[in-house]
Symmetry: C2
Subunit: 566 residues, 2 copies
């Protein structure tokens, strides 16, 4: 009888167990071992904020199969024939001798285990701000099951009245919602000028407005200077501008960094972004060692550049690839990421795929064209909910580079569609006549996705001359005084209006009121309405009547994130 | 001053107004006229069932812009500078003289109007069964605003107790739901063995079970023989097998045929499917005449064959293409359809895109491989809802040919993703590592879409040897006696089980209970569980232990449409 192949996996959260399970399915005879530092296995860590927020109460649901079986070592042994050792920390990898050194955390017992193939899935560690007071009681992250348990206890006890979330990224916003739902007065602090940097500024500001509408406080452009405390307990957070925010709880969510300690010590190649360097087989610089999940660098499929992409879905997919390669030979590849992400923000979702305009500009791409579309996701009579999408394309080839979408509507469907389009290298033109599932309970006759492509096509053909709300706001601030036309009805104007010097001329009256427009046919005119469909029709009508510099404010009032008159 | 170009559009429902509006946007100087036989314009006809069903009460919502302005002739004139003549029937087209003859239905007045370009958007007419009694009072279709008004009145009055819907297609099922919600005892009659023929039989049967669970009656494999009545009023429907179903209302929904009367009389080329023949510019055999919407034949983008595809979304897209070409020169094309459709069925949605297995076989495609995947759309802790997808691919190239999805989950998102993938000519392999928007409120870490691709990959690689529930059911009927293993837990087995001679061996116990399996290692063994993930693991374990003919029942008990023991 030949010796069994032994595949050892370091890490038992997302990508590790997936690699182990796939390896088992590929090689029924191999010995498959998971060494997991934590006491739990296969934690649904992306679910922590929803446990904290009270969306569900049974902690075990974070650790269960869909049929309610807890994924503990007994489950792994019986159902998958995998030896999962929990509370077992791997302290070193000996690549020469093909072995790992481990320590049993409960007993202090140490040992070594040889491997034929090794999969490193050590995840990430939360970044902490380099400021005084970081060790005070009352400061936590939301990265581990222990963190989730702590914050859930905070919720259940109801003693804490004020909390601060440091960091306005995905986890920060999810934590903000969770604590706000727990009845805690919450302030989110973000060093950058905006929340959720996967969005461009104008969409991020709309999300910020929604967060504020829901009762949470948001402070942007301001970092943390110190945690202040008394008797070892947090009492306030001090900001860089000197403001002190009294609070009994602070959640740090300023991002994570790859946990590469043992990989680095073992001499494996670490990339420029401080993640483990892997090839398309998820193989490290040592051919018998694979690495997956938050601890690795992966490739952006659009730019070809290495990126850190610590997402649970990618971790699972990478685990599947490494598991198969480790169990057989290098035969399957991981193509990388387009950095698709989504986040629940109270009644909104905010998602992004591909490149943002900011990212495209940072990369120095020159032919970038963008458009913003606002519409409901379904007809009004089926209670359609708002979607605001920003599409980013290559102005020469029309290839879709990225899309962002926010709002209470079915954002995840929109982003999923754009993600497939980007991965298929499709152009705007390819999507103009897309045949999508239409019925009133599910979409508009021309789906928001297709309408966004239509707007982009109109812009690329020079028919739609768009300006963003941001550009209009800047013009107003600079006192440039373009001729602004709100093309809605008087009743709509009475309810909501920008008050930036606009003239109300309803679209239906425009052709009869042309004498009210500037005599100078070269004067800059900007039209808008609620979502700027009527604004677009108005602009075309004015061009048809000789005005030469007519623009449309993309997304209309719906996409306006700045203060309004009413 | 040069003479203005006149673009005349016949038909004011979906594609006609879209063509007119696009023509106006392309040519601000043209004269654009809509001649509409009905009194209303731009009716959201796909919304009729939801008005009848009481999802909303304001009839005007079917005729309004998103901001609540009724799209009547005044709206068209003021907002779009389009002359919309309602209650105006076009009776003939004179291609020689470039004119149409019309009749004002209110006054009987007749006249002619010359055109430079003509767009025919005459829609479809409902098919009626060629049986006695079709003129009795109480028989209707749900095709026009008048039909919708009539059925809404039925709902509001609450007098009718029993109704029959003839036809189990999309409109039939939507009407069934509407009337059932109105408190009417409803029976759906379908001549074919299944409802919703865009689905393959096994998925259609699951939908049928849901319809029945909701309290509606369904009779398949049985057509109508006659409408029976007394004093001119419907009293019953007689079926081909002799059954008489007493009812006071019958809604006929056996499909539509293109309304080509005036086009045919004008000598325009009519295709083999009795729709107006158009090229990719939506241009008829007369170069100055375009045709769009339900009255035309369009191209299936996968097969290249002509099809009838009377869908509201395609009508709008075709209108946009014809409008631009009519207003300028032939410059934009319509690529055809992949026959994407979706339908609300009580708490389920049922959708399809591309080819069904049935359609692929009917076309004689030889390399067709299918797989069924069942899973929730989100994690259990976020109240995930079931999705069942059947994927159809080319077994040689892996190209995605079609997908169907049903269930209470986010079906429209799944179908939209497959639709983009098919239009991008993507393969299963392209989608294995798709980067989709993941967060627990929106999807599983490995989205149902990706998991479906994984199953197909496993099947194409020969790892997953799947059988459908239908095949298992047939084996059981034929008394073939494969060794059937239910790999769930005893508690699950106690709640629900098939009772087809299966042995309960929970996955976790399987490796210890191998002695209970057939000694003959060539014996056919079929494993399944709730969704057949555990069934798949079990099959691999058995293969690893020497059994050579082990299969997995795809979709598990969740996809089983046949009677169960409990």
């Amino acid at each position: 009888m030949t010796k069994k192949k032994r595949i050892v996996v370091i890490g038992g959260s997302a990508s590790g167990p997936k690699a182990a399970a796939k390896a088992r399915r590929i090689d029924n005879n191999a010995e498959v071992v998971i060494l997991q530092k934590e006491a739990d296995l296969s934690m649904a860590s992306c679910g922590y904020p929803y446990y904290v927020g009270g969306f569900f109460n049974d902690r075990n649901q974070l650790l269960c199969t869909p049929t309610g079986v807890v994924r503990n070592p007994i489950f792994y042994l019986n159902a998958k024939n995998i030896d999962a050792e929990v509370s077992t920390e791997v302290t070193a990898i000996d690549t020469q001798n093909h072995s790992v050194a481990f320590k049993k955390l409960a007993t202090g017992e140490t040992g070594t285990m040889v491997y034929d193939k090794l999969v490193i899935a050590t995840g990430s560690v939360p970044r902490m701000p380099p400021v005084p007071g970081v060790d005070l009681t009352g400061i936590t992250t939301l990265q581990s099951m222990k963190d989730a348990d702590f914050l859930r206890k905070v919720r259940d006890e109801g003693k804490i009245k004020k909390a601060v979330v440091i960091g306005g990224g995905l986890i920060g916003i999810e934590t903000c919602e969770a604590l706000q739902l727990a009845g805690i007065e919450i302030t989110v602090i973000e060093l950058l000028p905006q929340l959720l940097t996967f969005l461009d500024l104008e969409l991020a500001k709309l999300v910020e407005n929604h967060v504020k509408d829901k009762g949470a406080n948001v402070i942007t452009d301001n970092g943390i200077a110190a945690f202040l405390g008394e008797n070892g307990k947090l009492t306030a957070v001090k900001l860089q501008n000197g403001t002190e925010l009294p609070c009994e709880l602070a959640v740090v969510a300023i991002g994570v960094r790859p946990n590469v300690k043992i990989a680095k010590e073992a001499g494996l190649k670490i990339g420029d972004l401080d993640g483990i360097d892997v090839n398309e087989y998820m193989q490290t610089s040592d051919p018998d060692i694979y690495a997956v999940g938050d601890c690795v660098e992966t490739v952006n499929r659009i730019t070809g550049k290495k990126v850190l992409a610590p997402y649970g879905d990618l971790a699972n997919l990478q685990g599947r690839v490494a598991g198969e390669n480790a169990a057989s030979i290098n035969c399957v590849t991981f193509p990388g990421t387009i950095q698709t992400g989504i986040c629940k923000v109270f009644d909104y979702a905010a998602g992004s795929t591909g490149l943002s305009e900011t990212a495209a500009k940072r990369l120095g791409l020159s032919n970038v064209i963008t458009v913003i579309n606002a519409s409901p996701d379904k007809p009004g009579f089926m209670e359609g909910k708002l979607l605001i999408t920003k599409l980013i394309a290559d102005s020469q080839t029309g290839r879709v580079l990225g899309a962002q979408c926010i709002g209470p509507g079915n954002v995840s469907k929109q982003i999923a569609q754009w993600a497939i389009a980007i991965q298929g290298k499709l152009t705007v033109e390819d999507l103009i006549n897309a045949d999508l599932p239409y019925a009133p309970p599910f979409s508009l006759a021309i789906d928001h996705f297709i309408a966004t492509a239509h707007l982009m096509q109109n812009k690329m053909k020079g028919r739609l001359k768009g300006v963003t709300c941001k550009e209009v706001w800047e013009k107003v601030q600079k006192n440039e005084k373009p001729f602004l036309i709100d093309t809605r009805g008087p009743d709509e104007f009475e309810q909501i209006r920008l008050g930036i010097g606009e003239t109300l001329i309803p679209l239906g009256a425009l052709r009869k009121r042309l004498q009210e427009l500037p005599e100078d046919k070269n004067k800059e005119i900007i039209c808008y309405c609620k979502i700027s469909l009527r604004g677009y029709e108005a602009a075309l009508a004015l061009e048809g009547n000789g005005w030469k510099n007519v623009k449309v404010m993309e997304g209309g009032i719906t996409a306006w994130p700045y203060p309004r008159e009413k």
